[in-house]
Subunit: 124 residues, 2 copies
Amino acid sequence: MDESRKALYRARAKVLKALAHPTRLWMVEKLAQGEHCVCELLETVDADFSTVSKHLSVLRQAGIVDVQKRGKQMFYRLKVPCVLEFMGCIEAVLAAGAQDRPDAPGMTTPGTACRQCRQREKEL
Amino acid sequence: MDESRKALYRARAKVLKALAHPTRLWMVEKLAQGEHCVCELLETVDADFSTVSKHLSVLRQAGIVDVQKRGKQMFYRLKVPCVLEFMGCIEAVLAAGAQDRPDAPGMTTPGTACRQCRQREKEL
DNA sequence: TACTTATTTGGCTATTTAACCAAATGATCG
DNA sequence: CGATCATTTGGTTAAATAGCCAAATAAGTA
């Protein structure tokens, strides 16, 4: 894998990482309903002012939210609303996670050994 | 926000966190093409055997991948393929992140003060 | 049974992240 | 200008994460 490809995956991971926090996830949903100033978000969150601000900063740096100063307040809004679409799939993961299926007992696939994997590759 | 709601967001965040790593993201895409044993993934990844194994463990615990033992090998596969759909939106975030728009200079919205926010709430 | 192969586990260290507090900034109001 | 409000920044500490190495399992194989 070349360096530019690695960089791409790092960038993608960074976006996901920005979303991967309960408080931030919550705030993103909140912002999906319309813009909010920091103190409005603060009220719903049970954390310190500076903590909320830092979370928003993470979202902003990831490019997920937008901020606009108006008067003495900072108004945040969701820049890329499609991130909300993740939720459906995440719920699916959570639902699937519960069952941990035993995966059909009578499995007859030959079990290609790893060494053989490489050999098979050579043969191709 | 009540405790069960918090727990929901924590659970969701955990799933995203599992995806939020370049190597894991890469492996998920790889697994989307079909099942692979650990050593096959290792070849494409430039990391230690144990590191790869741990990444897979994270994905498994999050409920994203499935594992099945066959012979001496562990075959991993994508359990919930919809996670791939995230990529489109992530690219959108990355694309949007580039431009950092100045958001229309002549903005005339009154700038509701935060104190006033609370007051406004009371008035409703 | 001993040997090799495939993978996981258990430390260990370096790095990153989260949270809080206190201080700094920036804008408006008196 | 000085006070106040909204928010960010810096510092600190605790906890989580990533990576590597070495040892432990587990399943064939000789």
